[in-house]
């Protein structure tokens, strides 16, 4: 049983520091990253480093975080070249220092992608994701127009698969992991969440085309490396990309007047 262990570790941090509007570079912190408890989360370790930097009169490392429970998708950084670090299926905020050893060197960088410009240190602008949703990532359901919720039964398998896709937290790890900076896993997850449900059928093909086109405006193309699935803190499957591609092809061929008769 662990709980609170007394031993601490010393690590060496190399962190990307970039002032707003300026050039960035890696900076090494040795003294500041000593005496770290393995029970701390990675972000708590950064909190400690930041307190020490402030005490020395240096500006703290800027990084995004909010829920610290792996659900809001705010956090996200490259840790030793891996999005969200070494632990599979784990967002940065849920990563704990017990994954590291005394003396480890840890390299911390922002997501690197053309569509995600760095705003400061580890903070990037991910608003391109919102543009994809805006293009068609919804089911048109004006308030007040809904029929009784149990009117249309949804097969449990479909509901479960939709939920698997809907678990995406839009952190951007998939884009950061991809050699082409493609956003296919994000887009496919968002798309298939809706396309798999009976409620989502009416707009299925127009939604697919609109979201894929918006995606292509900002992000690279997919050459099936599969790095995205490996990096995803929610372990979303690349199978959804195959479904998206299938729907996209169908949408191109589809006689729209027959769309309701799939």
């Amino acid at each position: 049983m662990s709980g609170a262990s007394n031993e601490t570790i010393d690590v060496v941090l190399h962190v990307w520091r970039q002032p707003p509007g300026g050039e960035g570079r890696m900076v090494t912190y040795t003294e500041e990253a000593k005496g770290i408890s393995p029970d701390m989360s990675f972000l708590e370790m950064l909190d400690v480093v930041n307190e020490r930097l402030i005490a020395k009169g240096e500006e703290p490392i800027a990084f995004e975080h909010d829920c610290r429970e792996g659900i809001c998708g705010s956090c996200g950084m490259m840790i030793n070249g891996q999005p969200h670090g070494p632990q599979k299926g784990t967002a940065t905020c849920q990563l704990h220092m017990r994954e590291f050893r005394d003396g480890d060197e840890i390299y911390v960088e922002p997501w690197r992608a053309r569509a995600f410009p760095v705003l400061r240190d580890l903070i990037v602008d991910r608003s391109a994701f919102d543009r994809i949703i805006e293009a068609g990532g919804y089911i048109t359901a004006p308030t007040g127009s809904a029929p009784d919720a149990n009117l249309i039964p949804v097969p449990k398998e479909a509901a479960d698969a939709a939920m698997d896709a809907a678990a995406c937290i839009a952190c951007g790890a998939c884009v950061a992991a991809c050699p082409n900076n493609a956003a296919h896993l994000f887009t496919a997850a968002k798309l298939q969440h809706l396309n798999l449900l009976p409620q989502g059928q009416a707009e299925r093909y127009q939604r697919t085309v609109a979201m894929v086109e918006a995606m292509e405006e900002y992000f690279g193309s997919c050459t099936m490396h599969g790095e995205c699935q490996e990096a995803c803190p929610k372990e979303i499957s690349v199978d959804f990309i195959a479904y998206m591609n299938r729907d996209f092809v169908k949408a191109q061929l589809k006689n729209r007047k027959l769309a309701g008769q799939t």
Binding site: M1, S2, E58, G144, A146, M163, Q199
Partner: protein
């Protein structure tokens, strides 16, 4: 001066009140709606649902959030579920029963009319969410699944795995983005509201700061809706997201909006205990765990054996012992207080003796490990990731933590504050949960407010403004407010003291937790009343905020913590004045013989609404009496 508070609660039979009231409200014709500018601050469940609905109806909406995208709002973290009186399980649920449970659960400190309306609208929320594609859990036949939650004796909670808040928020966010696409909603991200602008007593706009550039600007509108969430982070350690704060509502309070029941705070019983002083926030373990987990501590405070070696006869299942009919499912305030009592007796477990066991071994024996994995798998994984302990084998350790604030800005039945034109929705208002909120009811309230209430009541207000333009942003009221925001920012940057913002926030949190937390008494509250202003003064002299105005997270924190100081003081005052115990407000001086909360309906059956009277002045208390016509106040009993 503020006169008599008018709650605008309709009369007549309770089941007809909302319907009749809707009919009595004025409408805005579809072709006139685009003539109105509406500002919404916040894109959580309340804000996003309001923006989607008002945009769809044709109003011009501007929506603001300090997050990088609307979908990060704290609502995303809600795990357990959302209540609705659908009675799909035919287990005796009804609108009246949900109403009754909520009034009773709130310990008779909420308005009957509001709560009844909430219960009525609950059923529509589920329909709406399903139509949007929210993937709620389903049974094998394809119909919606329900579970019982947080002490309810019926199964009325709808859920999407352990991610109900996430899925409901995505539903609302997507509807809102549809309106962004259509041009009715304009979205401002990374933009923080730092002041409310009021002209001649009427809300007319807001002052915001662009968090990337640091630029301060104004926006004007016919009405302002604050949907900015709760203020649990005044305690520093809470289950709230780290950025959650009170600045929007506190600034509005300073501009004249009354703050109601600020001391009503919910302490959630099932959170992971703090592990060391670097702890940055506390993690909630969903309440649904109490359906299958049994809570206990060793009988002997000096028992250091591992839990599996403590025989049944030497365990104290204290909730089951004290409350045979509700057992581990007593409401949150009762469960939390009892956990505190056993820890205070020195019977806490874990290395810091700061928790109680939540044990699944009998459930695993009864229904098997697979069933348990299916129900709680992701929660168990999360627990293991944080504590490095496997809850399938070792009982979880839990302890109460600050979770939700029932208090908030005072609003009438129309969700309008006492400042005309200022509406408040979701956790930011005080409206529906009295002194204690039932599990799975916050999501319900946020969405009822945003989807089904505000469009009617806002229209009634706007109808009276047809033909008028919003106050232009070059009006001196805007310049004044901008200057005041700019001054605060400049001052914080110029102090150049020796202590970080977090240092002060932690210290404030400690005072609040020790004296205004789970149990309160006169001496402690008075102590807090002297300590908080002293610490605040030190903050304004010695805080160290390095850097400039552009993208500066220490500066963001500093503006928020500055407001927490003032709010914290008001909470303490409110707790001190309320000489009774009710719901989450437990005054040690007022308890029954067996340690239960002892209400004083004779003297305290009212909403305490506080008026800001300027820096350094004592706030003025206004009382809104509460009348109970349908549920007779009784001493709550869960025995």
């Amino acid at each position: 001066m503020i006169g008599e508070l008018n709650s605008k609660v309709p009369s007549g039979p309770i089941e007809d009140r909302w319907t009749n009231h809707k009919f009595d409200l004025r409408l805005v014709a579809p072709n006139n709606r685009r003539k109105f500018q509406v500002i919404i601050v916040g894109t959580g469940l309340a804000g996003a649902s309001a923006a989607a609905t008002l945009g769809e109806q044709g109003y011009n909406v501007k929506v603001f959030t300090y997050h990088d995208t609307p979908r990060r709002a704290h609502s995303i973290a809600a795990q357990g579920g959302i209540n609705a009186a659908k009675n799909y399980k035919s287990d005796g649920d009804s609108v009246f029963r949900l109403f009754y449970d909520t009034i009773k659960g709130g310990d008779f400190r909420s308005r009957e009319s509001n709560v009844y309306r909430l219960a009525e609208e609950s059923v529509n929320i589920i329909d709406q969410a399903v139509a949007q594609g929210v993937p709620f859990a389903r049974e094998y036949g394809g119909l919606l699944d329900n579970r019982s939650f947080g002490g309810a004796q019926v199964s009325r909670t709808f859920y999407a795995r352990g991610q109900t808040g996430q899925q409901l928020l995505l539903g609302a966010y997507q509807q809102m983005m549809r309106q962004v696409r259509q041009g009715t909603v304009k979205l401002y991200t990374r933009t923080e509201m730092l002041d409310l602008v009021v002209k001649d007593g009427v809300a007319c706009g807001i002052v915001v700061r662009d968090l990337v550039t640091g630029q301060v600007t104004s926006h004007s509108a016919h009405a302002v809706l604050l949907c900015t969430g709760g203020y649990g982070n005044v305690f520093y350690l809470s289950t709230n997201a780290k950025y959650s704060n009170a600045t929007a509502i506190w600034r509005a309070h300073r501009r004249g909006a009354l703050f109601a029941n600020p001391c009503f705070t919910q302490i959630h019983p099932t959170c992971i205990p703090a592990s060391d002083e670097f702890q940055s926030k506390l993690t909630l373990m969903s309440e649904s765990l109490r359906n299958d987990g049994r809570i206990w501590v060793p009988v002997d405070p000096d028992d250091t054996r591992p839990p599996d070696q403590i025989p049944e006869s030497e365990r104290d299942y204290f909730l089951e012992r004290k409350y045979p009919s509700f057992g581990n499912l007593v409401p949150r305030d009762v469960a939390s207080r009892n956990a505190k009592a056993v820890v205070d007796q020195g019977r806490g477990v874990g290395p810091l003796k700061n928790g109680v066991y939540l044990d699944f071994s009998s459930a695993i024996e009864r229904i098997g490990v697979e069933k348990i994995r299916e129900r709680y798998g992701n929660l168990f994984d999360m627990y293991e990731r944080i504590t490095d302990e496997n809850p399938y084998e070792v009982p979880m350790r839990i302890y109460p933590a600050v979770h939700y604030t029932m208090g908030g800005l005072w609003v009438d039945y129309n969700l309008m504050s006492n400042v005309p034109g200022l509406f408040v929705l979701g956790e930011a208002n005080f409206s529906d949960h009295g002194a204690n909120r039932l599990g799975a009811s916050a999501l319900m309230q946020g969405l009822a407010d945003g989807y089904f209430i505000i469009s009617y009541t806002l229209a009634d207000y706007l109808a009276g403004l047809l033909g008028t333009d919003p106050v232009p942003t070059d009006d001196p009221v805007f310049a004044d407010a901008e200057r005041s925001v700019g001054d605060t920012v400049a001052r914080l940057l110029s102090i150049k003291g020796t202590r970080s913002v977090d240092h002060f926030h932690r210290e404030l949190g400690k005072i609040m937790w020790d004296h205004c937390g789970m149990a309160r008494n006169k001496a402690g509250l008075e102590k807090a009343l002297s300590e908080i202003p002293a610490l605040r003064e030190e903050f304004w002299k010695d805080v160290r905020v390095l850097g400039g105005a552009a993208l500066n997270q220490s500066l963001e924190k500093a503006t928020r913590v500055a407001d927490f100081f003032e709010l914290g003081e008001l909470m303490v005052r409110d707790a001190l004045h309320r000489e009774e115990s009710c719901g989450g407000h437990f005054r040690e001086e007022h308890q029954t013989e067996d340690g239960e909360a002892l209400r004083d309906d004779e003297n305290f059956a009212y909403v305490a609404a506080w008026e800001w009277t300027g820096k350094g002045n004592e706030p003025v208390l206004h009382r809104e009496p509460l009348k109970f016509e349908y549920v007779t106040p009784t001493q709550r009993s869960y025995k």
